[in-house]
Every structure is written in C-alpha cells, then in structure tokens.
C-alpha cells in the first residue's frame, strides 16, 4: 500500500462523486437520510484524502505540492475542507451542487497525472514555501466558496426557492468567505515575499505570476470594502465573487498554461 496508489486516489474521487450525486438527488427529492448520506460520503472522502495527504507529506518529508498533481490534490483537499467548514457550521448543503463539481474537476484533472512523489529542489526547501502554499490554496478555496455562494445567490434571486437559504444569509456567508480568504491570502503574500527576499534578495518580483498574485490580493481587498457600499451589495457582490474566481483561476492555471513565467512553481 502506498499513498500514491491510483486506487486510493480514485476511491477518494469516487466518494466525492457519490456525495455530489447524492447532494444533487437531495436537491430534487428532499430527504433527510439522503442528505445525511451525502454528507457522510463527503466526510469519508475528506478523511481518506486527509490521510493520503498526511501520508504523502510524511513519506516525502515536505508538503508535496511542487508539481501540478500535488497542487491539484492540495487545492481539492482545501476546497473540501472549506466546504465542510461552511456546511457543518451553517448547515449549507445547498452550496454543494456548486462547490463539489469544482472539487471533482480539480481532483479529476489530477487523476491522469503522475502521482509519484517528486524530489525536493533546494530552492523549495524552506518552511516559508510550505506556509506560502498552504495559505495560498486555503485562500483560493475560500474564494472558490465565495464563487459558489455568488452563483447560489444569483440562482436564489431568480428562483426564490424556499429550499435554498435566504438571500441575506447567502450574502453574509459570501462576505465571510471573502474576508477569511483575503486574510489567508494576505498571509500567503507575506510568506511568499519573505521567501522571495531570502531566495532572491528582493521581496517582489515582476514576473507575471507575482503580478497576478498581487492582483488577486488587490481585487479581494477591493471586495472587502465594496460590501460597505450599498450599490455593490447583493447582486453586485455576487458578480464580483464570480469575476474574482476568474482572476484566481487565471493566476493558478491560466498563466502556467498560456504564458511563461519564472515563478518557482511554474
């Protein structure tokens, strides 16, 4: 048995998939048992993924997020953690149809990639790297949650369904996701800047990934304020959450796929 065993990773994916399908089913045919099973599957998938992550971390001796498989695996784990946090704290299964497909996309995209543990290149051998990565993906996961809540807000505004949470509640949760995400992303920027300083002698690099990470930070800093302006509350805020997720996706994936950058994780 090895934590990179494709069977274990696929089992994790299958549990999430099952949970997503059950959540969808529960949305169409409300049923408490269905809902509990869906949550149970999600918890089981998350427990398995946490185990695999910890196991991989222990075997490698460092958080293995130095290649695309590693980051997709960790991003999907962070998203599952954030979704569970909101779901368990606020009873929010209605967000699942929006967060779980994204989780499945992230983990699904990792499935065809090589899960073997990479060796650590010396430049990444610092705790600042671990902090930078952990905060960045937790931040991204909260921005993804905000995206899901933004979509949920727009759906609820059109449908006014009694089975979905109140608009005011969705708005409040969205603001919470943005503030928590922004705080964690600030920690990601601070640890990244410290790392850049010890690695390069300067704390901000004008490489495209660095610039876009600053943009993500600035965008969500703007959102932390926009919620105080009445005109931007509600629909405007939901749309901003959706647009912000586009910026996140471009920074995380788009730059690596479309452009060239000298960021150490490219």
């Amino acid at each position: 048995m090895h934590p990179s065993d494709p069977f274990l990773i696929r089992s994790c994916f299958s549990l999430y998939l099952l949970s997503a399908l059950l959540h969808l089913g529960e949305l169409l045919l409300p049923n408490l048992r269905l809902r509990r099973t869906a949550l149970g599957m999600l918890l089981l998938g998350f427990a398995l993924q946490t185990l695999l992550l910890g196991w991989r971390w222990g075997l490698a001796g460092f958080l293995p997020v130095t290649n695309l498989f590693g980051t997709l695996f960790f991003f999907s784990w962070s998203l599952a953690a954030v979704h569970l946090y909101f779901d368990l704290r606020y009873r929010l299964p209605a967000a699942a149809p929006f967060t779980l497909p994204l989780l499945l996309l992230l983990l699904g995209a990792a499935l065809p990639l090589d899960p073997a543990l990479p060796s650590l290149i010396p430049a990444l051998d610092t705790p600042l790297f671990t902090l930078h990565i952990v905060f960045s993906f937790l931040g991204y996961a909260l921005f993804t949650m905000a995206f899901a809540l933004g979509v949920l807000y727009l759906v609820q505004r059109r449908r006014a369904s009694p089975r979905l949470p109140d608009l005011a509640d969705i708005r409040r949760l969205n603001e919470e996701a943005i503030l928590l995400g922004f705080s964690l992303f600030t920690l990601c920027m601070v640890s990244g800047s410290l790392w850049a300083y010890v690695a390069w002698g300067y704390y901000f690099s004008w490489n495209i990934k660095g610039v876009w990470s600053f943009l993500v930070w600035l965008f969500y800093a703007g959102m932390c304020h926009a919620k105080f302006i009445r005109r931007w509350q509600g629909t405007g805020y939901a749309l901003l959450s959706i647009a912000g997720f586009g910026v996140v996706l471009f920074t995380y994936l788009g730059i690596g796929l479309l452009l060239e950058s000298n960021h150490p994780l490219e």
Partner: protein, 348 residues
C-alpha cells in the same frame, strides 16, 4: 475646505475606485509582459526607479500602464494612511477593528518601503570570490566580504544541490557579521543582502603526461627539472590567449578556449622565455631541451558567485509585512466575535 479634502482622502469609496482602477490597469497591461521579456524582465534586474527612467521611458507606448498603476497604488497608500489615522483618532470607539487597521498600516509601510527601495540602493551586483579571498562589497565603500570557505554540494548526475559559503562581512578590519550563506539563507545586514547565486570552476593550470608515463600538474610557480639538466618554471597560466598579428600573445577571457603557459627555461648557458600554447604543441626550444608533455585535462578551483543587493527599505517592509500578517490573523479570529455586533459602515 480642509475638512472636505480630509474626508475625501479618508473616503472608502475612493479606496474602492482606486483599487478597481489599479486592478483593471495592471490586468490589461500585464498581458503585454510575457511577449516582451527583455523590457519587462529588466524590472527584476534593476531598481524600479532606474527602470522607470531608463528602459521604460524609452518605450512609453508599452510601459505607460506601469506608471499609471504606480500612481493609483500610491494614491491608495495615501488613502489607506488617512483611513488609518482617522481610525486612530477614534480608537476608543473602534478598537475592535485593530486587526483590520493593522492590515492598513502594514500595507502603507510595505508600499513606502517599496517606493524607498525603488529609488535608492542597488540590485543584483554579482561578485566572483574564491575561498580565502577578501573582496570589496559593491556600493558600500569600506566594507568587505571574506569567503572563509566554499563548498558546492552536487547531487547525483551533477545536479547542483547547494552552495555553502562561509562568509564574513567586515567594515575595515572589524567583523560585522558571520554567516553561512546558502540557498534560501542570505547574509543580511542593514538592507544589504548577500546571496549564493551560483558557482563555477576556473582553470588554474593543466595536468600533463610527462616522460616515463608520469602525470604532473603545472600551474603558476610550478618548477620542473629536465633530464638534460635545465630547469623549467611556470610564470603564468591563462585559460585563453589571443595571438596578435605581430606575434604578441595577450590574455583572453576566463573560459578555457586557447590555454597557454608563459614558461621560463634556465640552463647553464641561457635563460629562455616563451609561450607554450597547448593547442599548438611544445615550442621547439623546449622539445630540444628534452621536455615531453602531453596535455590531459585542466586543473582548477571552484569559485563562488555571490549576488549583492542593497534595499534601504527592507526593514520597513519587514515591519509592514509582519503587521499585515498579524492584522490578518487578528481580523480572522475577531471576525466572529464582531459579527454579532453589526458595527459596520454602510455607504449609499
């Protein structure tokens, strides 16, 4: 009137406008960056101020957005500072927002530090230093770096793993700092950072197969007694020389291209001096003296390449970064306590 100006400077709406405008400008402009690596890549190799007045000024058509973004972000900095001061003035009623306002102060400090470091100091001065040498620190008169020991670590397949530099920073004779500099561990002192950038090997001589199948290493100062009674001394070794049209031999670059020895042969009757260009074979005078040499491989020593930066704003930026971090953690944990109080500004 002054109150109106102050209120505008403290305005949250202005913050949203500036942040959105800066985001939009950088978003659009940054897409030009990957296509012009020469122009935008230089932003990391020199101070932003130098880049603004040098390469960027010559290609304003492609770089105007960076100037505009700088103005917008500086405006945001002033705006955030005013908000912070305004909060400070109402601390009694608004102390619960300490985390949030530490974030604002941290941002202002980092921005001011970045602006400071963009107009003074220097970036990426490379120095080549060998173990045992003391070299002058660029841009810091009277300061020196002594490399007490250097050990490159190379992994399987020749992959460079680390560069262990035992460095001492000196002011005149006085020791200021002693540090083992390696990847991710620079020597820092008052805004100066010295980093292990790279290392290389330089040829200091050559290994030969001499008569009797004996291997010998020759380098500056080596001496050899010839069977015929003469004495050969190596005056100098150059990894590369250039032969001028008039026959004069002059040293070339540091890379091993056309290696040559300046030699001196002393016999009872005469002293001969001349060049031995390895690619051309032994000069006839040396062969006739009974010398047999077949070049095998260069012998050399490693040197360390250090990169030196000076950023006078570095400590201020660190203070700002720590405030940003502390503010974020505080804002994160105090969020739930405050949520129930609903004390938030609400603007039309």
């Amino acid at each position: 009137m002054p109150l109106r100006i102050w209120n505008t400077l403290c305005s949250l709406k202005l913050a949203v406008v500036l942040a959105s405008a800066a985001t939009a400008v950088i978003m659009g402009g940054s897409l030009l960056m990957p296509g012009r690596p020469g122009l935008f890549g230089a932003m990391d190799r020199q101070l932003l101020g130098e880049w603004f007045s040098g390469p960027a000024a010559m290609r304003l058509g492609e770089t105007w957005w960076v100037y505009l973004a700088a103005v917008l972000i500086l405006g945001l900095g002033v705006n955030a500072l005013c908000c912070f001061l305004d909060w400070l003035a109402h601390l009694r009623q608004r102390w619960r927002k300490t985390g949030e306002y530490l974030i604002h102060l941290g941002f202002v400090l980092v921005l001011a530090a970045y602006a400071w470091g963009s107009v003074s100091g220097f970036r990426g001065e490379e120095i080549k230093v060998r173990a045992g040498e003391t070299v002058a620190l660029p841009g810091m008169p009277g300061h020196y770096l002594r490399l007490e020991g250097f050990e490159p670590r190379v992994g399987a397949g020749g992959r460079p793993l680390d560069m262990i530099n035992r460095l001492v920073l000196l002011q005149g004779e006085r020791e200021l700092r002693r540090e083992t500099v390696r990847i991710n561990h620079p020597l820092t002192w008052k805004g100066v950072s010295v980093l292990a950038a790279s290392f290389g090997e330089e040829a200091t001589g050559f290994r030969f197969l001499a008569g009797g199948a004996k291997e010998i290493d020759l380098g500056p100062g080596s001496e050899l007694t010839l069977e015929g009674g003469g004495r050969l001394r190596v005056l100098a070794f150059h990894p590369d020389v250039v032969v001028r049209p008039d026959g004069r031999v002059v040293p070339g670059g540091p890379d091993l291209r056309n290696p040559a020895f300046a030699l001196e042969l002393t016999t009872d009757k005469e002293t001969w001096r001349g060049w031995y260009l390895l690619r051309q074979g032994l000069p006839p005078r040396l062969s006739s003296a009974g010398l047999q040499l077949r070049p095998l491989e260069p012998v050399g020593r490693t040197y360390s390449l250090l990169s030196v930066n000076l950023d006078p704003g570095a400590s201020m930026a660190l203070a700002g970064g720590l405030l940003l971090g502390a503010g974020s953690i505080l804002a994160l944990f105090s969020y739930y306590a405050k949520r129930s109080r609903r004390d938030r500004p609400e603007l039309d």
